[in-house]
Amino acid sequence: MSAIVIVQSRPARRWLPAFRHLATMLGAVIIGAAVLVAIFAPYLTPHDPFAQDLNQRLIPPVWMEGSQPTHLLGTDQIGRDYLSRLIYGTRISMLIGVLTVITSGVIGITLGIIGGFYGGRTDDVVMFLITCRLSIPLILVALTVVALVGSSLAVVILTLGLLLWDRFAVVARTTAMQVRNLDYIAAAQAAGASRLHILLREVLPNIANHLVVVATLEMALAILLEAALSFLGLGVPPPLPSWGLMIAEAKEYMFFSPWVIITPGVALFVLVLGINLLGDGLRDLLGADMRR
């Protein structure tokens, strides 16, 4: 009886890790490609992404009728090459993703580690700050700030960075709490280590793998939020080729030239999917690593 059960369950057991592995690889490939495209954008673009040509408006991509071989993905409503804009858009999305994660990571991890490690009243203060942050409606505050200060890439990055630290703080706090009672922390103290040393060199490396996973989630979120802000006209200002902005500018033409809205939409979807797949895979890998 039991032998049959084992034989039946085996394929399912094998299938899952293999799929996870494949998905992680796919995520890594997507991110790798996005990073390379972002870095080498000037060498990859066939046209200037800002050059307008009103005689060449809304040319469809190559696989559709009426396309031109010089514009692989066609042109937008004022005749700019769509592929070039898409490639430069990768730059903006990656820049926003990375810089926002760094800003929010520094804030969140610092608060979380201090709260989790010291506990007591320090922790109460940190928890209060996290609760305050969680009760702030993200998009509304981002909209207000951008509306007041004016929209620029730096403002978007700073606003998102200052708002997205909550998950870092929560995870850093909980994991630091688990680590602080372990013997090697006491051993480090008994060996004369300073507090700063213990927080940075003993605690941080042991919670880093959890934080890496949070970083991938936050990066995906930041990229989506930037797209949303840009779509609402309060993110990256034109004529910068942000994907969200491209979708916003294309929305009037979507019925007759749907590719203008589909192309940046698909790019956004694929990048965020890639980041999330990689994050999922990393969580599994690093989780297994911790169980040693």
Partner: protein, 330 residues
Amino acid sequence: MTPVVPDPVLSVANLRVSFGQTEAVRGVTLAVARGETHCLVGESGCGKSVTALSVMNLLPRGIARTADHLRFQGQDLLGMSERQTARLRGDKMAMIFQEPMTSLNPAYTIGSQMSEVFERHRGATRRQAMDRAAELLARVGITAPGMRLGQYPHQLSGGLRQRVMIAMALMCDPELLIADEPTTALDVTVQAQILRLLQKLQQELGLALLLITHDLGVVARMAQRVSVMYAGEVIETGTVAEVFAAPTHPYTRGLLDCIPVPGMTRTGEPLGNIPGVVPRIPLGFIGCGFRDRCTLAMPECAQTVPLRNAGGDHFYLCRLPPDWKRAAAA
């Protein structure tokens, strides 16, 4: 009236530590001399580890220690700032913990953890520190130290990790080594090896070793001096020979009765035991902490008990006279 230890490395007088409404350590007095092993023995929860942690000033935050004095090599530890104490820890006084499996940071190699201590206290370069680490690993009986230096803690067995912990504690040539039940978490065969190693190192380096244990067998083979703790107090102290030859406090006597001795204990007869558990001592408790479990308790045990001399350096904390056993037998 306390035992006289000439020129002690560590000297503690009337140490008190309380956690909220519970007194964990109630007036512990002890001294450890250079080249001497002093065992602190007692059952779980009697304040042994808390005593050790108070010496290192590693008590949890918000828990205060008070003492008449707490001196290390003549320096007053009570008046020292956290920074000054941190400078001594790992340098002149080192500590080994009970759990070798969790006492090493899993994120760093053995070599990097060991050399860090040396770099911190001696301002040495990484290369000098690594050489020193390799030398000490060899000294604690680890073969192929060069290979071990590059390994992570999870690649080592429990016994090896405890050896690494010992080597790490010796990096800066400490004067005082506090070992908090260093063999409790290990296999019996490995225990013997580690104890032999500690004894050898202690003799070679002339360390003052404060060894915390609940195993009287360990005391008998390792220590020159022993302090028996019960409910936060040292209830009997003296040289190992004195205490083992004439255990005077009823608790020490009870502890020794629990151990079978070949040729002395008759087969078929049950071993001795002490009924009950270590009580929680509330603030303001007066009298003998053992009185609820003691078969010889009298109403006067609820009053302050004097410290009595049983000859030589042998002291005990009980109302009974030193020769009560003989008097009872007569």
